[in-house]
């Protein structure tokens, strides 16, 4: 009697309604941001938040965002890119190499490493920021880009993901065949493994890129000069100086800057989505 199957799932109105509500809840802040980024500073405080109003100033706002305070926004954008490329890129490379090694080589202490990595996944980066600050302060590295890049290189979650993925995606037979053909371990890693791991690597890259791009607390603590700020801390500084005694109200720039800040992330998601989806479902079905 069942009228549904895997290919024709049963429809649930309640579930649809709940998900629709959730969708609206998720999208409202984004819609609000897009709408309000088109307003001038005065219109921001005189018109309703969820409706367009006042002159359409999005392009003026974008122009002003890039030129305000001697174009510091561009510098912040450059800093963020540097931290993402060096930090997230490095983290992806390290996680890939380490994850593969742990999955495919047998050596003493492997279980201990497993425990440490799993434990590290559970510790939020924010909790490590202050001890890291004290350590870097003793090394004299605070207020330098290295203070952001070095801690970003560590991604226990990425390592774990590659580890699990490599266990499934790379058959031992493949490595054995390569070895019999006379390939060295490094060559195997570079020519055989990397290609097999591509979806996993992209997934890890996406995670580390997003977390480095959005990283706020670590740079907030480490950096004191705006010239090294990433976008997150810089925008917060604009927001903070927009209220209080003798404020410079640049809320319209904060909003436009926020909108510009999420654009690269959206692009990254759209580009990597394909890999990401296949990466997440890898190994879930035995063929």
């Amino acid at each position: 009697m069942a009228t549904f199957s895997v290919t024709r799932p049963r429809k649930s109105r309640v579930l649809t309604a709940v998900m629709a509500l959730y969708l609206i809840y998720t999208l409202v802040p984004l819609v609000w941001l897009v709408i309000n980024a088109t307003k001038t500073q005065p219109a921001l405080f005189t018109t309703s938040g969820l409706a367009f109003g006042g002159p359409f100033a999005l392009f003026d706002n974008i122009g002003e965002t890039f030129t305000y305070d001697n174009g510091i926004f561009l510098r912040w954008l450059g800093n963020t890119l540097l931290y993402v490329v060096a930090g997230a890129g490095g983290a992806t490379i390290l996680a890939t190499a380490a994850g593969y090694g742990l999955a495919k080589y047998r050596f003493p202490g492997r279980r201990a490493v497993f425990a440490v990595v799993l434990g590290a996944v559970a510790v939020p980066g924010t909790a490590l920021a202050v001890p890291t600050f004290l350590m870097f302060s003793e090394l004299g590295l605070t207020n330098t880009p290295l203070a952001i890049i070095i801690p970003s290189l560590i991604s226990p979650f990425g390592l774990y993901l590659i580890w699990v993925y490599a266990s499934d995606a790379i058959p031992d037979e493949l490595l054995e065949a390569a070895r019999i053909d006379g390939a060295g371990e490094i060559r195997i890693f570079l020519t055989v493994t990397l290609r097999q791991l591509a979806p996993g690597i992209v997934t890890v890259a996406l995670f580390t890129v997003v977390s480095t791009w959005n990283n706020y607390f670590l740079p907030l603590i480490m950096l004191s000069e705006p010239k090294w700020y990433p976008l997150t801390v810089g925008l917060n500084q604009w927001s903070a100086q927009a209220s209080g005694a003798g404020a410079q109200p640049v809320y319209h720039l904060v909003l436009t800057g926020s909108l510009l800040t999420i654009v690269p992330l959206v692009i990254a998601f759209l580009l990597m989505q394909r890999y990401w989806q296949s990466g997440l479902s890898a190994g879930s079905v035995k063929q």
Binding site: F45, T46, V130, S137, S224, Q237, Q241, A245, A247
Partner: protein
């Protein structure tokens, strides 16, 4: 184990930006009598200093200073606004390097840095002689335990900002006493449930200023020993008034400084504000819809006699870490006792120097935003009527950071503030004792 323990302790201290190494707060700054010769000599010799500030006038001031003294290079850094900058400052002090020569510090946070021996005592350069040039309330703000840790930049004597249009439409007279104010709040909200006389979602700066005006002195300290009494007569006086607004749900549930708040100030949803004299600039820049509607009156009082309190205001201090403290002191002197005051006033700041406060040009300025009212006359009167004898905690930034966890609950639930203040006091006492102070509850 003890090493880890130390790390953890240090970590906690840094995050809270109130790590107070009390052990080193001895008054080793030498005699109070000093001379400005060394400052003049340093200025002549020139050099480079770093200055942390977030005030909008800082850039212009630095440019003007470098023009006047070409042999001095001032490295201006906006390291963050208030709390954020204090955290960085505290971190740099803790780390032993990285602090600037001169930093902007608000009055409420000054004792925290002064009492931990992080700042240079400007008495050694003879700046104590400038006392007569400043409004007494601001001078007492930079004097901490007989040391002088800055020259007052701005002040925020409180006044009543009100929407004349809304007041007139509902036949509300400008309240002179707090009883009248509460009555006006009821009248307005009853007549139009969408309107509120004022908003307050729990702001520690506002609460302490209101206690200050009511004559409360909840925080007393000599640096090491601290006494907290958030149930003294003055505090009770304030809560007896404000509880009526909190419990009667007569306060607009709109978070201060949010875009909603600015909009509410512009469209009449919030009809008045009791706040510092620095507010007009914010009205002009962020409440364009309120132009011509708002006016300024003296702050309401308990018995009709004029008395106000300071709300906000800041100074510049010379850090102990500075490699050239005399030059840094010269910069501070120029900022607040020299040509640096002009760019500050030009940017809309409310000065602390009596000569500027009392100048006819300042007093007779008719402000078009406030319908041509000469608001500086009201605000200048306010600066003369600031209640004396107030002091902040030596770790006020921490105390303020836990205000919303304690007193904030009373605001949220619409219950008596006294219980919330009691919880705040407990948090303040506990934290102070953990940090090595001897804190007693009053």
């Amino acid at each position: 184990m003890s090493r880890i323990h130390r790390r953890v302790k240090a970590a906690v201290a840094v995050t809270l930006a109130a790590a107070l190494a009390v052990g080193c707060s001895s008054g080793s700054d030498g005699p109070a009598a000093g001379s400005q010769d060394s400052v003049d000599a340093a200025l002549k010799a020139g050099g480079t200093i770093t200055y942390w500030s977030w005030t909008p006038s800082a850039k212009d001031q630095v440019a003007a200073f470098e023009k006047e003294f070409p042999n001095v290079k001032v490295n201006y850094v906006n390291a963050g606004t208030n709390k954020e900058q204090y955290t960085k400052l505290q971190n740099a002090i803790k780390a032993g390097s990285g602090a600037p020569d001169v930093a902007q510090i608000e009055y409420y946070a000054l004792p925290q840095f002064a009492l931990t021996d992080s700042l240079a005592n400007l008495d050694q350069y003879g700046f104590g002689a400038f006392e007569k040039d400043y409004a007494p309330s601001t001078w007492s703000s930079v004097r901490v335990n007989n040391g002088l840790y800055g020259l007052p930049q701005d002040s925020g004597p409180m006044a009543l900002f009100y929407n004349k249009e809304v007041f007139d439409a509902h036949g509300i007279a400008v309240p002179k006493t707090w009883d009248e104010y509460v009555a006006a709040a009821k009248k307005l909200h009853t007549a139009d449930p969408g309107k509120y006389l004022t908003s307050d979602t729990g702001d520690p700066g506002f609460a302490t200023s209101m206690i200050w005006q009511a004559g409360g002195k909840p925080f007393t300290s000599d640096g090491r020993n601290v006494k907290v009494d958030l149930a003294d007569a003055g505090t009770k006086k304030w809560t007896a008034t404000w509880n009526q607004l909190v419990e009667g749900k007569l306060l607009a549930p709109i978070k201060e400084w949010s875009d909603d708040w600015f909009r509410a100030l512009g469209d009449g949803t919030i009809a008045s504000l009791v706040t510092g004299a620095w507010m007009p600039g914010n009205f002009k820049s962020s409440v364009p819809g309120g132009a011509g509607k708002w006016a300024v009156a003296p702050m309401p009082t308990y018995d009709g006699q004029p008395v106000t309190a300071e709300n906000g205001g800041s100074t510049q201090s010379v850090l102990k870490q500075s490699g050239n403290p005399a030059l840094a002191a010269a910069f501070v002197r120029w900022l607040n006792h020299g040509n640096g005051v002009k760019p500050f006033i030009a940017s809309g700041g409310f000065p602390a120097t009596t000569a500027d406060l009392n100048s006819p040009a300042f007093l007779d300025q008719a402000d078009p935003y406030f319908g041509g009212q000469k608001i500086n006359q009201v605000l200048n009167d306010a600066s003369k009527n600031v209640a004396k004898g107030w002091s902040y905690l030596p770790y006020q930034t921490y105390a303020n950071s836990v205000f919303s966890d304690t007193v904030g609950k009373a605001y949220l639930g619409g219950t008596s503030l006294d219980a919330g203040l009691n919880a705040w006091q407990q948090a303040i006492v506990d934290y102070g004792n953990q940090q090595g102070f001897t804190v007693s509850a009053g």
